[in-house]
């Protein structure tokens, strides 16, 4: 059986690959959406923080002999802590100003981080071997699925669902959402809003670093890795609706699929297709697919 001249089996393989890439988009756009939704900061350092997460895993392995599993925990903690310092010392001063200031500051920080890493580690990247548990692949009949990629989908789904649950369904999440609507009132109930905001930023950044650690074994760890993906992830967030968590996750996976299919039918356009969709969505629904008009 064939669809548009492609065997269905091959097409299934491509869809699965699309989902895997979508998992990375979802994890990254999730962090961005959380930060934008609760802090109103357009965090352009997100890509750089993802890259630093991957480098962190490499440092841990190279200099401390710490393997992949511990890196999954330690790298996000370390990068999240750096994020908290950035939030306290710099971003906290910008909340009362226009979005644009936050965007410019974070963009500048991203360029500085990338520049420093390129200067010390060059551009061709550093090798990070696949953890041994994941060597090999599963034969699904229609395709050869590397075990590691299967793990990426599972882990990303868990992280996304967990985050969504905490923010939409728990008391802590309710405080967070209330604090974005009316910080003064929430503070009047005795809740330390600035600390909550700081921790939220730290959490968003930790999500980026986690995605970075997960990417390290598949892509070479290099200073450009964040710059390449961040633009796409921003498009994902815009299409999903700025600040919408569910929107970010669903669009992340959805666009991964669309990109995967483009790579089969017209590979030359695989870098642009997401932006074409973004333009169309913005024309029809300026707030994004899942966003609310304010």
């Amino acid at each position: 059986m064939t669809i548009f001249g492609f065997p269905t089996q091959a097409l299934f393989g491509q869809l699965l690959i699309g989902l895997i890439n979508g998992a990375f988009y979802a994890m990254l756009s999730l962090g961005l959406a959380v930060i934008f939704g609760l802090l109103n900061i357009i965090n352009f350092t997100h890509g750089a923080q993802y890259m630093v997460g991957a480098f962190c895993a490499w440092f841990l392995l190279q200099y401390a002999g710490v393997g992949y599993w511990w890196s999954l925990l330690l790298a996000p903690l370390a990068v999240g802590a750096i994020g908290i310092v950035i939030e306290r010392t710099m971003l906290a001063r910008l909340y009362k100003l226009d979005h644009l200031y936050g965007l410019l500051l974070t963009f500048g920080l991203a360029l500085i981080m990338q520049g420093i890493f390129t200067n010390y580690f060059g551009s061709s990247g550093l090798p990070y071997q696949l953890p041994e548990e994941f060597a090999g692949a599963l034969n699904l009949g229609f395709m050869f699925l590397p075990k590691y990629r299967a793990w990426v989908i599972v882990a990303s789904l868990l992280v996304c669902l967990g985050t969504w649950y905490v923010i939409e369904r728990t008391k802590l999440g309710a405080y967070l959402r209330a604090a974005t609507e009316n910080p003064a009132l929430v503070q009047a109930f005795g809740i330390n809003v600035p600390r909550m905001v700081t921790l939220t930023y730290g959490f968003g950044v930790a999500l980026a670093a986690l995605a970075g650690v997960m990417a390290a074994p598949i892509y070479t760890v290099n200073p450009q890795m964040g710059a390449n993906i961040i633009i796409v992830v921003f498009a994902v967030v815009v299409i999903g609706g700025m600040g919408s968590i569910l929107g970010a996750v669903l669009t992340g996976f959805g666009l991964g699929l669309v990109e995967g299919l483009t790579k089969v039918f017209y590979p030359e356009a695989s870098n642009t297709v997401i932006f074409i969709i973004m333009a169309i969505v913005l024309l029809i629904k300026p707030a994004g697919l899942f966003g609310r008009e304010r």
């Binding site: 393989g13 090798p127 692949a137 590691y148 070479t220 790579k263 695989s270």
Partner: protein
Amino acid sequence: MKAKRLSVLAAALVLAWLSTGAKAQISDNVIKIGVLSDMSSLYTDLAGAGSIVAAKMAVEDSGIEKRGYKVEIISADHQNKPDVGSQIARQWYDTDKVDVIVDVPNSGVALAVNQITKDKGKAFLVSGAASSDLTGKACSPNTIHWTYDTWMLANGTGSAIVKTGGDTWFFLTSDYAFGLALERDTEAVVLKNGGKVLGKVRHPLNTQDFSSFLLQAQASKAKIIGLANAGGDTTNSIKQASEFGIVKGGQNLAGLLVFLTDVHALGLPTAQGLILTNTFYWDTNDQTRAFAKRFAAQDKGIHPTMVHAGVYSSLIHYLKAVEALKSDDGTKVIAKMKEMPTDDPLFGKGSIRIDGRKIHPAYLVEVKKPSESKYEWDYYKIRATIPADQAFRPLKDGECPLVK
């Protein structure tokens, strides 16, 4: 007596005038070298900052400054964008008085700079770019293509692989001037040697995820997956191919353009066994080793790629020609460079053809197993040497208008 003294004075004056007159042929009294390269993206390590180091070393080793010439080196990042590269080249030639542009990885940018250099009558020494069109249809009296080209890579790696049984191919091609030229030249070699091309897919420059393309390559059942890409694109393809079990499944990868820095980034466990063609390897003889040691000390420990070596040796030859002519007029210097035989510590003796192609031997190498590598950057064993007269496209086949 007085007359004699006067005539001595006059002779001295004439001599002084003559010598300054000769120097005055050097525009603004400075030989200005512009290193135009990728300083921030995927080709930075294989060219980039290292090309500036190589240029400085060439000026130093030529000793030209001790003989009273002033040399200045400037550099810029073309960001792999032909429009950015063209704008820099124009500004350099028009207002900054640059005499020669060197390196320029990325064939798209190099072809643009090639045309501008011709229009302005300056000099262009290509090391980083690969497209064989630079000495073919687009050849110019102002350009010399030094280090390697797509025809040479195809001829070296491509024919070696077809002859050892790899007769069905699938191409993974970087979608711009370089990738397309490399694919075209390799396909020709495959077909000529009785092989078949089962399919091809073109990916945008600087792609992160190749799994989708690799899956298509896998489905084609071709014995060889030819990687007509470079830098980070090649390392990502190779890394992900090993993840998808492509080599274990019986298909083999042919890295058509793999640099030393790419092997370093992949690590030997992933890169071992890869066959590739190069024109320079740092661990060849005492001279190249000495060069590599000095170079690495100035470039974050990176050992020189063939692109770096090409920047160095092309500038050594350029400066010789400038001294011989006592002029830095672009068109004249390039003509002189073609006329003089080349000789430098890295590529040895060689020559430059009328179409601008520098001729030297090429080496078919295999990446060592981790157990065979004895020290840092000990990566290649040389399997065969392709002699200079066979390594590059025959003069008559290039369709270069300069060849009559």
